[in-house]
């Protein structure tokens, strides 16, 4: 099972890198989304996919899933959620100011802004 997950995560990372290297701002946002999905799935997989019961204390259950990676993912998800919300608004503002969503056109230095 871990092997399949590794392949899936690899594909997610590949797609994320491809999208982040593109020109359009929206594609870049989608790329960062896929990148964080890949990272979160990687934490889950690397914690091990063994165990049969969810990590909630119950009578007569001994074989729990590792609870630590789940807590880490939950933290990482809300952080990346906050950052993504910020990025989307920032990209919207940039689009409104610069009148373009093409990263190649967003050049400039001190002489000509």
């Amino acid at each position: 099972m871990e092997f399949v997950m590794a392949i899936v995560i690899g594909i997610l990372f590949m797609a994320a890198v491809y999208l982040i290297l593109s020109k359009s701002l929206l594609r870049i946002i989608l790329g960062t989304g896929l990148l964080s999905h890949g990272a979160h799935l990687l934490i889950l997989t690397m914690g091990g996919l063994g165990g049969t019961s969810p990590p909630v204390l119950a009578e007569g259950v001994t074989d729990y899933v590792d609870p630590l990676p789940q807590a880490l993912i939950l933290t990482a998800i809300v952080i990346s959620f906050g950052v993504t919300a910020f990025i989307i608004v920032l990209f919207y503002r940039t689009y409104a100011e610069h009148k373009t969503d093409n990263m190649n056109l967003m050049k400039g230095n001190d002489e000509h802004d």
């Binding site: 960062t32 964080s36 990687l42 914690g47 630590l68 990482a76 400039g108 001190d110």
Partner: protein
């Protein structure tokens, strides 16, 4: 008072929350920020005295035993960095009163600064690798706000690049932690160190070590991962630039130092050799940039990159002199970069441009500023009575002891180039024929020069008072070179 080591983290956080309620009242915001920073600074000094007297301080949150809860660890390295960060923030906030402008002050500038300080101090103090990631995100989020606050066209454009690079490096940080967790099965830094020592660092751990170098190298701007820094740092206003230049890259440097002295010390021919080569390349790249530009901001920004290279070169030696020198140079560089950015901010405010070719003759109108800048510039280059000397001397000594003669030659040659680049600013801006200056208020100039002057005075005191500082620095390098001190303090029975 076992919670003492949390106070430098919690107090800025607490004051930042209070400030959120006084959005429109700029005067209250300014007063509360200064009070908060002053109190935090006092407690960090108390903490430093305690660490000096009693050794490494640890606190496990919620009283869970050590590897299971989150441990906060205050050793001499982290307490020195925390104290310096608070001190520099204090002066930059004072400088901001005049330099940042009412509009930005009304839109949560001071809370963002304090939240950033919370993250910075947390990242220096934490003893848990995932908690370090969370504190990284805390100061990064605040820095996103600071870099874009004001919403000028240039800021929007450059902050996109800054945020994108940091989002990617944060994802890589998560990946690196996940891989380390799968191999080692713990997140507590002292426990990780013990477990890695038990398995003797097989190949997979070395790979993770290099992944960590990649992650922290993006934050700390080492070669070849510094590409985002010059553009992003030239966008925000001067106080924000000073804050970033003095604090943010140094966290990457601290994180590399911590992981490469605590975790990955069993395969040094690979990891530390790589760090050594990269640090020299960083110095070379920084020197090329510092000479290439005729723009005040860009010259200073490339000097940040050179300093990162010098500090990491000292760390890579892994001997007593090199590590003590790196600690000396790290603290010196935070202070002097803060001072220099504030000074060039005043020059830009007076002349109305950051282009060196359009300046000249400021010595006739602003002599005190000129002398102060000259002292700070000599301090940066490492002229003996001033602050940059001891650190670089020890780093070079450590490199000779470790047999890296060529590396030392690069360090010494880079000092010359640093001196050339900052003196060029002095010659162009202060000598020569006076040019037409735009009218500025004398009063605002006076308010801005006080914090800059105080920082220069502190850097002089740091250089002259080396003898008093040495015991603190040797404590810091001891705890870095002997991980057992750190581990015993955290995992005590």
């Amino acid at each position: 008072m076992i919670n003492l080591l949390l106070l430098p983290i919690i107090l800025p956080f607490f004051f930042a929350i209070i400030l959120l309620f006084f959005k429109e009242n700029v005067r209250v915001q300014r007063t509360l920020t200064l009070i908060g920073l002053a109190i935090s600074f006092t407690f960090s000094l108390v903490l430093m005295a305690k660490v000096k007297a009693d050794g490494v301080q640890t606190l496990t949150l919620g009283s869970w035993p050590a590897p299971f809860g989150i441990t906060m660890v205050s050793d001499m390295v982290s307490v020195l960095l925390v104290t310096t960060s608070i001190l520099i923030t204090f002066f930059i906030v004072m400088y901001s009163f005049e330099a940042i402008g009412k509009e930005r002050e009304r839109f949560y500038y001071y809370p963002a600064v304090l939240f950033m300080l919370t993250g910075v101090n947390g990242a220096f103090t934490t003893g848990d690798i995932f908690n370090m990631f969370v504190f990284f995100e805390v100061f990064l989020m605040a820095s996103y706000v600071l870099i874009v606050l004001g919403g000028e066209k240039k800021q929007l454009r450059e902050s996109i690049k800054y945020i994108l690079v940091n989002v990617i490096s944060s994802a890589l940080f998560v990946v690196a932690i996940a891989l380390l967790y799968s191999v080692i099965g713990t997140l507590n830094m002292a426990d990780i160190s013990v477990k890695i020592a038990e398995v003797g660092q097989p190949g997979i751990i070395t790979v993770i070590a290099i992944l960590f170098l990649l992650v922290f190298g993006i934050k700390g701007a080492i070669f070849p991962l510094y590409f985002w820094l010059p553009g992003s740092y030239s966008a925000p206003p001067i106080p924000v630039l000073a804050l970033f230049g003095a604090l943010l890259t140094k966290i990457g440097v601290y994180a590399i130092t911590r992981t490469y002295t605590l975790f990955f010390i069993h395969n040094m021919p690979v990891t530390h050799e790589l760090l050594l080569v990269l640090s020299i390349l960083t110095i070379v790249a920084g020197c090329i940039g510092a000479l290439a530009y005729f723009d005040l901001k860009h010259i200073m920004i490339y000097n940040i990159i050179i300093a990162v290279g010098v500090i990491l070169f000292g760390v890579a030696q892994m001997n007593d002199a090199g590590m003590t020198g790196a600690m000396f140079y790290l603290i010196h560089d935070m202070i002097i970069k803060g001072a220099l950015f504030l000074l060039i901010g005043i020059i830009i405010a007076i002349t109305g441009t950051s282009n060196l070719r359009k300046m000249g003759g400021l010595m006739k109108t602003n002599a005190p500023l000129g002398w102060m800048y000259l002292i700070a510039a000599f301090g940066l280059a490492g002229i003996p009575p001033l602050s940059g000397f001891t650190g670089k001397l020890l780093i070079v000594k450590g490199a000779f002891e470790a047999g890296n003669v060529w590396g030392s030659v690069f360090i010494l040659a880079s000092s010359l180039i640093v001196l050339l680049s900052v003196i060029r600013i002095f010659i162009y801006a202060f000598w020569g024929e006076p040019v037409e200056l735009p009218t500025t208020k004398r009063r605002s100039y006076r308010i801005m020069i006080v914090p800059a002057a105080l920082l220069v005075v502190i850097s002089i005191a740091y250089g002259v008072g080396t003898e008093w500082i040495v015991p603190y620095m040797t404590d810091a390098s001891d705890v870095l070179l002997k991980p057992s001190i750190y581990i015993d303090a955290v995992l005590k029975e």
